[in-house]
Symmetry: C2
Subunit: 219 residues, 2 copies
DNA sequence: TGTATCCGATACGGCAACGTATCCGATACA
DNA sequence: TGTATCGGATACGTTGCCGTATCGGATACA
């Protein structure tokens, strides 16, 4: 059987990917050499080139893996919403879900916040890589926004801005806040970005009970 | 007189800085070699090292220049607000100012949107460079948010989220929208991000006439 | 017009990363 | 246990970039 062999290969691929992710955060994608990546993973360049054609292909693999994790996490977090009873705390629940998705799914850990930005810039200058990144982010975004739209509709709530913009705003705010806190050396232990995120959601969602005609423009 | 000589020097410094900015956008900071920068500027490495100790110092100079432009633009755009009459269109005027500041000042052109992100990441891994970038962004942000706060107070308006968060949100949304449109190849000719920005501001500002007690929480 | 200075070009040695070709030990399987 | 394959290590030549030391032409100024 090739099982054992194949799993060995997968193991070294994983270690290379982990090492690369860490180094991309520390030194940027262009700044991390193939040699360094291999070394940190505990291999030589020979192993690297035996597993990937180039650094670009490794980036593709990273994005693929993250994409799967992202969809998986999002699905799991949102699957609960349709089943939840229509009660007074539904907004709190939705906010909690949004936070979960943004935390675990989009931004994950400190490394990933940085690597995600690196990958975005990398995609800009790399025509081959670009569509892969765009697709992954689109898919995740679509899944999340559809679920959110459904939840809102179910409770008769509306938004003060279009749903698409809300998604972008939440994601961008969250990412930026985390990058700033990393930059300023705040360990962000309290996850301060969550408070801001919650406030934004509360400010932009119009509850049906509000009778808030003056400024509420259903979208 | 050293006038002629000194101005020649300034000229080559400017050309080096321009070349570097372009290359940073195209190939990332780490990806752009000193050789390439010098060459694009029409010089050799000799000229580069005669003007800057290192790539890092050049980055510092870029940030300094941008910082000045940023403050200057912000001041000019906001100076008009205190003089404007208290009329019905004041919100439109403020929105226009915000757009001006974010457009010209923060994000500027496509290159700068990308370079700004590069610099943020560069600052993260460069202890010497970090405080410089933080200070510039802080100063500009403070200036803008104080002016905005004053304008709002003057008209008795309040916000649905804290002012600090609003600033971050607007900036992050704007930047992200522009990066996405660059990534997707939209030339962004219509400056679509402006519409979104305007909607967010309208959604988060509570006009005094609204009597919008239900969801308005003055900050 | 001569001389000092300024400033970018040239020349040099050295290093780090690249990608490939080859090797060799371990595992799979008959 | 013998043999083929697999997967990572080693070895090699090449290239690009680095930072410095030195040079030479142009400008300033007396």
């Amino acid at each position: 059987m090739t099982t054992t062999v194949s799993s060995r290969r997968q193991h070294t691929r994983d270690r290379l990917i982990d090492a690369a992710t860490g180094l991309f955060a520390e030194k940027s994608i262009e700044g991390a050499s193939v040699e360094e990546i291999s070394e940190r993973a505990g291999f030589t360049r020979g192993a690297f080139y035996s597993n990937f054609d180039s650094k670009e292909e490794l980036c593709l693999e990273i994005v693929r893996q993250r994409g799967e994790q992202l969809l998986e996490t999002t699905r799991r977090a949102l699957a609960v919403i349709p089943d939840s009873p229509v009660n007074a705390q539904w907004l709190e629940e939705i906010i909690a879900k949004v936070i979960t998705v943004l935390d675990v799914g989009f931004t994950f850990d400190d490394n990933w916040v940085l690597v995600r930005q690196e990958l975005r810039l990398y995609a800009f200058r790399n025509p081959t890589f670009r569509p892969a990144l765009i697709e992954v982010e689109q898919d995740a975004n679509n899944l999340a926004s559809e679920a959110l739209a459904a939840a809102l509709a179910r409770h008769g709530a509306s938004l003060r801005i279009p749903l698409d913009q809300l998604m972008v705003t939440l994601d961008a705010f969250c990412e930026r806040t985390r990058v700033d806190s990393i930059l300023n050396g705040d360990s962000d232990a309290g996850h301060s970005w969550r408070d801001g995120l919650e406030r934004i959601v509360r400010a932009l969602v119009v509850l049906p009970a509000d009778e808030d005609r003056a400024s509420a423009e259903p979208v």
